[in-house]
C-alpha cells in the first residue's frame, strides 16, 4: 500500500502567518507538501464551521495560524480564535475525533523557518494518527 499522505488544511491570517509562510517560500525552504493553505484576513475569521467542513470534506488535520498574542492587526482577533479553538477541540473530542488533528499556532511575518518546521511537525503528527474517517462515515449511512 502506498504511504499515507495526510491532507492538512491550514487557515493562515493575512497579516502575520500567511506572510510568514510566504517568507518560507521565497527563502526556498522545503517543507511538507501536505499543507493546503487558505488565506483568511484574520485568525478571528476562522469560524468553527470551516474546521468542521474541512473534516467533512476529507481533511485529516486542520492547522490554524495567527499573529502572536498582542500582535493582531485587528487587536484581538487572535484571542477570539484561541477561545473558539478551545471549544472546537473539546467538541471534536466528544465526537470521537482525535484532538491532535487540530492545532493552533502563532506565526509572525518573520517566522518563515518556524512555519516550515511547524508544517513538517504537523504532518508527522497527523500521519501518526492515520486517515480521518469523518468523510467515509458521513457518506455511508447505516
Amino acid at each position: 500500500m502506498a504511504k499515507f499522505e495526510p491532507k492538512i488544511v491550514a487557515f493562515l491570517c493575512n497579516w502575520c502567518s500567511y506572510t510568514g509562510a510566504d517568507l518560507a517560500g521565497t527563502s526556498r525552504m522545503k517543507y511538507a507538501h501536505n499543507i493546503r493553505i487558505i488565506r483568511v484576513m484574520c485568525s478571528g475569521r476562522v469560524d468553527p464551521t470551516f474546521v468542521l467542513k474541512s473534516f467533512r470534506e476529507g481533511a485529516d488535520g486542520v492547522l490554524i495560524c495567527g499573529c502572536h498574542p498582542g500582535d493582531c492587526h485587528y487587536h484581538e482577533g487572535n484571542y477570539k480564535c484561541l477561545r473558539r479553538y478551545k471549544f472546537i477541540k473539546k467538541y471534536l473530542g466528544q465526537m470521537g475525533i482525535d484532538e491532535n488533528r487540530i492545532r493552533l499556532e502563532w506565526i509572525s511575518a518573520s517566522e518563515g523557518k518556524q512555519f516550515a518546521e511547524l508544517a513538517d511537525e504537523m504532518t508527522e503528527q497527523v500521519e501518526a494518527l492515520g486517515p480521518c474517517r469523518v468523510r467515509t462515515v458521513m457518506e455511508n449511512v447505516s
Partner: protein
C-alpha cells in the same frame, strides 16, 4: 359520502421516531380542530384514527394533499412509511424538530446500534436477559416467518430518506403556526418556494426576545440554569447561562424565555446557517472575558457537554452528523 367530501383537503399525519408530542400539538389547536376537520379529511393518523398501512398502500399516488410527518428516521419502518407517504402525498411536510433535524432521538448518534442494544438489552439495571435475546429483524414462528423493523445504526432527519417540501420546526411546533400554515394551504394561497422552512421567522430568537441586552457581553464563568438566581429580565447569556437564542430561529414566541428558561434551540438555525452548534461555539467564544490561554481552557471545560448542549436538536443534520465510533466496535 364521496360527493360530500369533494373539494376537501386530504390530510395525513404520521410519526416516525417521535414522542407523540407533535401529534398532540395538532390537538392543541383546541376548538380550531373543528375548522381543520371542516376543511380537511384526515385520511391517515395512527395516533387518533384506526387506519392500516395497507389503506395507505391502496391510495393512488398523490392522493393525500398534505402529509405532516413528525419524528426522525430510526428504523426501517420509519423509512418505509416516509417513502410511501411521500409517494402518496402532494405536499410532504417535515413537522417538528425530529423530522426537521433529527431532534432528541438524534442524540442517539453519540452511540451506535451495538452500544444501544448492549445498554438496553444487557446492562440496564432493570434488565434480566440470561438468554441474551436481542431484537432480530426476522423470526421463524410456527405460523410462519415474522419480520420486525430493522434498527438503524444512525438516526436520520426525514430529508435524508424522502424529498421534503416544507419544514415546520419546533419541539413541538407552536399550534398557532400550524394553523397559519394550514389556513394558507386550505385557502389556496401561493405557497413559499419548495424546501423552505415555514411557520417560523427568518431572524433569530434574540430579535424577538424582550430581555434586556447590552453590547457588552463579557462572561468569566458559565452556569447551569439552576446554579444562579435569574433576575428575570437580563439576557441569559449576559448572566452566564447558555441560551441557544443567537443560533436559533424565532417564531415560537420565545415561550421558554418568557417562562424564565433559556432557549434550547428546537426551532433550528436561521437561514443560511448549516451548523447551529458551530455558530453557537463562535458566538459564545467571543463572550469569554479572558485572553489567558489557561483561563480560557478552564472556562470552556466548565461547560459540561458542548456537543449535547449546542446540538441538542440538530446532531443528525449537523456537519459531523454522528460521533465516530472506533472501527473495531462498528464492524460487529
Amino acid at each position: 359520502m364521496e360527493n360530500e367530501n369533494k373539494g376537501k383537503l386530504k390530510m395525513a399525519i404520521y410519526w416516525g421516531a417521535a414522542c407523540g408530542g407533535c401529534c398532540v400539538s395538532v390537538l392543541d389547536v383546541h376548538e380550531k380542530l373543528f375548522d381543520i376537520v371542516a376543511a380537511a379529511d384526515l385520511v391517515f393518523w395512527p395516533l387518533a384514527l384506526d387506519f392500516k398501512y395497507s389503506d395507505v398502500e391502496k391510495m393512488p399516488d398523490g392522493y393525500i394533499d398534505v402529509c405532516l410527518f413528525n419524528g426522525a428516521i430510526r428504523n426501517s419502518e420509519n423509512e418505509l412509511m416516509a417513502v410511501l407517504l411521500r409517494q402518496k402525498s402532494k405536499i410532504m411536510v417535515a413537522y417538528g424538530s425530529c423530522a426537521h433535524m433529527g431532534g432528541i432521538p438524534g442524540l442517539a448518534n453519540f452511540f451506535d446500534r451495538k452500544s444501544i442494544f448492549d445498554r438496553v438489552y444487557f446492562q440496564s439495571e432493570s434488565t434480566e436477559n440470561p438468554e441474551g435475546i436481542t431484537p432480530q429483524p426476522k423470526y421463524d414462528a410456527p405460523e410462519g416467518e415474522l419480520d420486525i423493523p430493522a434498527f438503524y445504526n444512525d438516526v436520520l432527519p426525514l430529508k435524508s430518506v424522502a424529498c421534503v417540501d416544507y419544514f415546520i420546526p419546533g419541539c413541538p411546533p407552536q399550534s398557532e403556526r400550524l394553523l397559519e400554515v394550514f389556513q394558507a394551504i386550505a385557502s389556496g394561497a401561493e405557497l413559499p418556494s419548495k424546501e423552505s422552512v415555514i411557520g417560523a421567522l427568518e431572524k433569530s430568537q434574540c430579535d424577538e426576545c424582550k430581555r434586556k441586552k447590552t453590547d457588552n457581553k463579557k462572561v468569566k464563568q458559565f452556569f447551569r440554569p439552576w446554579e444562579i438566581e435569574d433576575d428575570g429580565e437580563t439576557c441569559f447569556l449576559e448572566q452566564g447561562v447558555i441560551c441557544m437564542g443567537p443560533a436559533t430561529r424565532g417564531g415560537c414566541g420565545v415561550r421558554c424565555i418568557e417562562g424564565n428558561a433559556p432557549c434550547r434551540g428546537c426551532y433550528g438555525p436561521p437561514p443560511d446557517i448549516s451548523d447551529p452548534g458551530a455558530k453557537m461555539m463562535s458566538a459564545i467564544a467571543t463572550m469569554i472575558d479572558s485572553n489567558d490561554e489557561e483561563e480560557i481552557a478552564g472556562i470552556v471545560q466548565s461547560i459540561d457537554d458542548i456537543a449535547g448542549t449546542f446540538y441538542r436538536f440538530s446532531l443528525p443534520s449537523s456537519i459531523l452528523r454522528r460521533k465516530l465510533i472506533p472501527e473495531a466496535v462498528e464492524a460487529d
